[in-house]
């Protein structure tokens, strides 16, 4: 993760320097503020990655090692990958309604907000991954009771 935080913190420092240079050359407010916020954004991102790196006791992950091998990653789930979900489309439709409501007003807010909150709740509830990876993957493989099945990469 070293390269990751080097890149992002480096971007933040560059923007900070550009900000200082720009301010003292031009004394122009808007550009300075935008550069400053850009620098802050990247220092925040880079700082977060740096903290993660420290939390890992500065050890490289398998993908950070020139000679990383696949067996180093065995035994641990990579991430939670859902198969399909209707809720993003719901939020997208809600965004369309909100846009229409902002232009033509009042009553469009009703379907817009209903759809938005409904979809966000659906999205959040669906995201609750199972507490533990099913011990018997065969059993899970044959569980077809839901059309939206969380897909788990596991050992």
């Amino acid at each position: 993760m070293k390269r990751e935080w080097h890149t992002t913190v480096g971007a933040g420092i560059f923007l900070g320097l550009a900000c200082a240079l720009y301010w003292f050359l031009s004394y122009e407010d808007s550009g300075t503020v935008m550069l400053l916020f850009g620098a802050a954004a990247y220092l925040m991102l880079g700082g977060f990655i740096y903290l993660q790196w420290r939390r890992r006791a500065r050890l490289p992950r398998p993908e950070d090692k020139e000679d990383g091998t696949y067996e180093e990653t065995a035994g641990e789930p990579i991430a939670f990958f859902p198969t399909a979900s209707i809720w993003p489309a719901g939020i997208g439709l809600a965004a369309t309604f909100i846009a229409i409501a902002l232009i033509w007003g009042t009553w469009y807010w009703v379907p817009a907000l209903a759809l938005l909150f409904g979809s966000i709740i659906g999205f959040a509830v669906e995201a609750e991954a199972p507490d533990d990876v099913p011990a018997d993957l065969e059993q899970a493989a044959h569980r077809q009771d839901s059309t939206i099945e969380p897909k788990q990469i596991a050992h």
Partner: protein, 564 residues
Amino acid sequence: MTIIEDRPGSGPSTDATGTEVHQERLMAMVPGPRPRSWVKFITSTDHKQIGLNYMVTAFIGFLVAGLMAEAMRTQLIVPNNHFVTLEVYNQLVTMHGTIMLFVVLGPFAFGLANYIVPLQIGAPDMAFPRFNNLSYWLYLSGFLIMLGGFLTNNGAADFGWFGYAPLTDMVHSPGPGADMWILGIALTGFSGIFTAINLITTVFCLRAPGMVMFRMPIFTWNMLVTLFLVLLAFPVLTSAFALLWSDRHLTTHFFEANGGGQPLLWQNMFWFFGHPEVYIIALPYFGVVTEVIATMSKKPVFGYKGMIGATLGIGALSMGVWAHHMYTTGAVMLPFFAAMSLLIAVPTGIKFFNWIGTMFKGVITLNTAMLFSVGFLGIFLFGGITGVVLAQPPLDFQLHMTYFVVAHFHYVVMALIFGVFSAIYYWFPKFTGRMLDERLGKLSFALLFIGVNLTFFPQHDLGLRGMSRRIATYDGNLGYNFENLLSSLGAYITGLGVIPTIINVWKSLRTGAIAGDNPWDGQTLEWATSSPPPDHNFESLPPIRSERPLWDATHPDELTRAGH
């Protein structure tokens, strides 16, 4: 949806080579039911399906905005023409620019990155698959809303794609078309921010073991830097639009001089987004061209680390050049912005040097994808050189708002369109499992290359003669007639040039030759899986020991030099 990192110290499995262990891991996934038929277009969280959705939508946007361009060139083909009314002409100018920038070039690259980047780094999917789907829906919604402006009474937005204050206020643009333009772009902006978060996380957290940052393919690197820029630029755009919105509807005066506001603030905010946007749409196609040239020359990328450094340099410098669009306002720091703008030519020059170095002494296959990439080099070089001309304040004072500027940036963006076509011809076998027809492809290339040059080369001279941009018609005695005629004929040839590719895609989807996994003898990991790739991408992966792992696996006698 947290990413559970691979913790060190977990018990290693059996196989020493690693490949079979990986296979075992992926085969043990819970096979949840994938959506089929048209439902998958809506609900699928598979990065490949979402990438295709993006690319198809962007290509439709390209055809729509291209037809607008043909209408404008028809209006300008002879002096004092009345093909469209003046109001409609202004709407066409605005919507052509907006759609090409916000709906076509950027999102096509995002779609391509969606499809290709996880494959290139050996990841099973994007980091946040449902978020990914949401980005697509926000993008489509934004596209349809801004296009919907044409259906309203006053028509679509008509103040140019950079919407300068005070043209955008309620007095000058009262209709809902302007509001739809604002909201449409804001939605595509959110979509871009979400895609950026998603893809950066994917690149940082989901690489395959051994895929260190300095082994990632150049396309992936360029997308990473592009999305860094998206994270900096798009929030500024969205907040500028929020301010504009409140000026129009909540009687604030951010951009209105009469209430103590500052119209120039809009230009600063817009171009702080707008110039990085140029690189947001350019860098991905630099990546495409690098991949195509390396593969078709059967060589590793020449100066791999220099190429990455150049990309980072372009990205960094592009944050400090926004006001070179504002020289003539008299309110910007000319030396600072001129110096930064001229400096950008250096990393771009490094890229050109490396592209040529990659081809040098290579075994070059001159197929359609490679032709489009080489065409990209020529056309982009021309656009870049006129960019250096325009970056010099004394010349810009002369040429600002003339057709010279139109010619300059159309050379740049048409080069990027060549990048789009190159990507289509290069990765179509991976997307569909079938090859595109080479003869139709080369016909398409020839027509586009002639058409683009015929359209935009005369516009340089028109600009030097003083024809200003965005005018809907002109007098017959100003000496503009012949070159406008040439330019319009070129636009028709360009339009014709797109048709063979559409026929080609349509035909090849059904009857194209079967491609196999690796039709181009590729070097990067996307060619290591089947075409199209299965769910979660890989049955097995070769060990990653250089920046072209697949080449090392398929050509064990020609291993890539470590640290090349």
